[in-house]
Point group: D2
Chain length 175, copies 4
Amino acid sequence: MDYLIICGTNRKNSKSKKISQFYQGLLEKKGIASQLIDLAGLPDDYIASALYENAGKNASFQPFRDQMKVARKMVFVVAEYNGSFPGVLKAFIDGMEYPGTFKNKKAALIGLSSGVQGGGLALSHLTDILNYCGTHVLAQKPKLSHIEKNFVKGQFTNPFYVQLLEEQIDEFIDF
Amino acid sequence: MDYLIICGTNRKNSKSKKISQFYQGLLEKKGIASQLIDLAGLPDDYIASALYENAGKNASFQPFRDQMKVARKMVFVVAEYNGSFPGVLKAFIDGMEYPGTFKNKKAALIGLSSGVQGGGLALSHLTDILNYCGTHVLAQKPKLSHIEKNFVKGQFTNPFYVQLLEEQIDEFIDF
Amino acid sequence: MDYLIICGTNRKNSKSKKISQFYQGLLEKKGIASQLIDLAGLPDDYIASALYENAGKNASFQPFRDQMKVARKMVFVVAEYNGSFPGVLKAFIDGMEYPGTFKNKKAALIGLSSGVQGGGLALSHLTDILNYCGTHVLAQKPKLSHIEKNFVKGQFTNPFYVQLLEEQIDEFIDF
Amino acid sequence: MDYLIICGTNRKNSKSKKISQFYQGLLEKKGIASQLIDLAGLPDDYIASALYENAGKNASFQPFRDQMKVARKMVFVVAEYNGSFPGVLKAFIDGMEYPGTFKNKKAALIGLSSGVQGGGLALSHLTDILNYCGTHVLAQKPKLSHIEKNFVKGQFTNPFYVQLLEEQIDEFIDF
């Protein structure tokens, strides 16, 4: 299973989760199976039990690490929090096995926001981090703004956004 | 108490902590009292109990929020992790009261790294975030590289780095 | 004359120029006199005659350098080109006297774009550069999107944008 | 001729030029022919004659546009100026045919600096711009610091830097 979608927040029942599932459906229509990680499933004591000298020692976190390690193509669904991505997403990356998890892999990024920016800075920051870790990032990074209006009950009300995601997938398959 | 130093990692006994304490000493020499927050003191279940719908509900985290809210000048000591700042630092920011914690305040940033960069990108990302939240960032941001060699047993072996920090403090006082 | 507005493109009759003039009017209403530099006035051979070993040698560029040097508060009006600011604006900065032009000065940034982003990344990049040069940047950076629709015949059709600019000025005066 | 190296400054006899030539030699050893653009060859009146309403009208600039348009893999050699890349490099990008020049192409970036940073922020900014224009950027971006000491008379005195460049080329070939 090459493709892994990461829902980049641990907020319960997040928009990011629903958009991750929608994206999984789009991949499926193109014949691509994928798995989905939701950071809402992180252990409650993640920051105390799975980082630094404890890296790799939390058994309940190990499945996340394993999934990330075997994935070849990663899709990050990234909500804008405070002008960047959720801190939990970076903490998640900080808990990975290094450098095997990221070296010479490929990533596609999708930003979303309640406001107008669509996570533009969040995606720039995440690109810096993934590049540093050795992961190549697809140039096309859809920025989905006003997400409460544009994505309702699991579906996009804005067909242009679906088109952007489908174009991204087409390019990511060849990337 | 206007000045608050934030040790921006939850790693135990971190270099960031020791440098935060050193910085506190430098402030003291200039007659400035300050407080120090160490993210190592975050509740173990921070990401599950203090964010989003739980923001402001974790009693053991409340003192952190209160300290941040009353501070007028914040000093962030930021280790480079994976090409940016520790995810825990951003998660900490995500748990603050918004916008009262950051609006029209002042911040000074210090980067440190084991490698050569001194956290340059980390400080750029953090500047974006603080600016978004309404905090003005001092232009001078010392980037302390090869920190294991340059900071030993609580003291800098590189006098130039002490000079950079002292110059930063002089400018931060007037900022 | 402390305040200097920089129209950050050399395009003739640019939106940036008209918005710079509008901003100058807002400053004036608050009792603040300012000067305005339009990069459309750069010498045609600027990149060949005023950079590197020729820095400071182009007599027709000297007035720009002098104005920048004496300004204490700089306002940059920055159109989004190719996901950042116009290259000419950075080339302009590259031709300044260093470090006297920027050290310990203050800047306010305004972004504008035909598209939806309002120059978010442009302002982030420019903040990095100004901070590097020693200039403190005001946190509040209005991002004005869909500028062709929102600014017509020298006036904003979107009153919220005027409010953002006025709030920025109030904060910049105290910065 | 798929590979094109862009010497990203118009400074005469620049280090960037010499490193571009060295890089061309490394490519050649691996059996890859390449062309080299030196921005020192830009028309003196480039900013007045080749941008905006004049885009595509300057006959002496046309060969640059043609080379960029047909290249499939671009190598940018980027000196750090004022905390980012040279403004002239962005002005060069602003003069390209859009979006044909950049859409779905590949780029490799090399940073260099007199100081310690090696152009880290310059490469981050350029990645944002190239991604915006549709060009995928290789994750591995060597940052070559203290370049006056590490690169002398057309050769690297620091063998680690040669190794970094060779590794980059190996990855770029497969990218």
